[in-house]
Amino acid sequence: LEASDKDAAAAAAAAAAEEEAGKVVAQYKYRLNDTWCTLSVQVRDLKSLEAGNWLSDTIIQLGVQSILEEVLGEQGLKRVGALDALFSFCLRQVCF
C-alpha cells in the first residue's frame, strides 16, 4: 500500500472508532427548575466507568444529580442546585 492509502485507512479506522465510542447507550432525564434536561451516556463514558478509569463529565453530572435526588428527595431538591461540570471550563477561562 502507498503511504497515502495507509493514512486513509488509518483515518477511516479512527473515524469508525470515534463513531462507535460516541454511540448513546443510556439517557438520563432530570428536572432542573421546571425544565427537563437530558444527559446522554456514550459508549466511551461507560467503558471508562467499567474499566475503573477517570470518570467523564457526563458520569459525574449523572452521579451528582442522582445523589441529590436520592438523599434530599423532591422537596429538598428545590432548595439545591447543581451546576453543570461544563461550566468549570468557562471558569477556567476567567482564571487563567
Partner: protein, 283 residues
Amino acid sequence: MNPDPMWCLQALYRRGNGEPVYDGLFEELKGQMKQTQSPDFLFEKDFLFFPMCLPCHWALAVVCNPLALVKKLLGLPSQVGLPETAVGSMAVVKPEPAIIFLDSLGSKGNVWCTALAHLLVQARQATQGELTHGTQLPSWSGNPQHVPRPSVDSPLQTNLYSCGDHLLVATRRVCQDVVRPLFDGKDTVTIQHLEEIIDREWYSADEVNAERRKIKDRVESLRAEEDCSQVTDDPEAKAVQEHRDRNRRLREQVQDCLASFENPNDDSSVVTVQQVVISEYCF
C-alpha cells in the same frame, strides 16, 4: 499526533489578559440560565453543588447561601443565620454564606473559589440587568481572603483515578451531614460547624469504592429502562453534547501530555505531576 506538552499546558493555562475571554463566559452563563429558564436560579437556592473539572482532575465546590455570599462580597446587608422565609408554618433557616472546596489531592483551591465567587457576583449583576452582552467586565481583582471559606482537609485519594469517585462520595456526605440536617431543622450550617465535621477521616475508602459501583448500577438501570438507539433530535441537547465532546478531546490532549511525563513503572509520578500542576496554578 503527540502534542507538545508545554504547548498544551500553556494553551490551557494562559492568562486571559487582553483577550476576549469574557464574551465566551457571558455566552456560557446565558446558556446555563436559558436551560433553567429563571435567570435568578443561582440565587434562589440554599446550596449550589459545582463539580469542577480541573486539568485531569475533579474537585467539588459547594456554595452555601449564594445570594448572601454575593451580598457579603458586595458589602450589602443580609440576614444571615436568621429565618428569611417561611414554608407553611415552618421557618426556613439559611446557611451561613461560604464556599466549601473539597479536593482529594489536598489543594485548598484558593484561585478556584475566588473565581467562583467572582463569577457569582457577575451572574448576579447580569440577572439584575447591570451587565449585558458586550459589556467590558473589570479585570480580575478577586482576593481569596474576602471569600468566606471553612478550613477543611477532606479525605485524600490513594491512586491515580478516583478523584471523580471522591467527588461523588463528598457530594453524598455533604447532602447527608450538612444539607439534610439543615432542611430537617436539626442543625445549622456555619463555617465552624463545617470545620468540625469535615476531616481526613470523613469517609472511608470502602465508601469511595462503593460509590463507583452505585453509579455503574445507575447507568445499567438507565440502559435497561429505554432503547437509546435513536439519539435525541433536541437541538439544545445536541449542542450540549457537542460541547462535551469538544472538552473531552481537549482533556484527552492534556492527559496525553501528562502521560508523557510519567514513568509507567512508578504510579506515584503521575500524582506528583498533577500536584505540581495544581499547586502551581491553584494555590
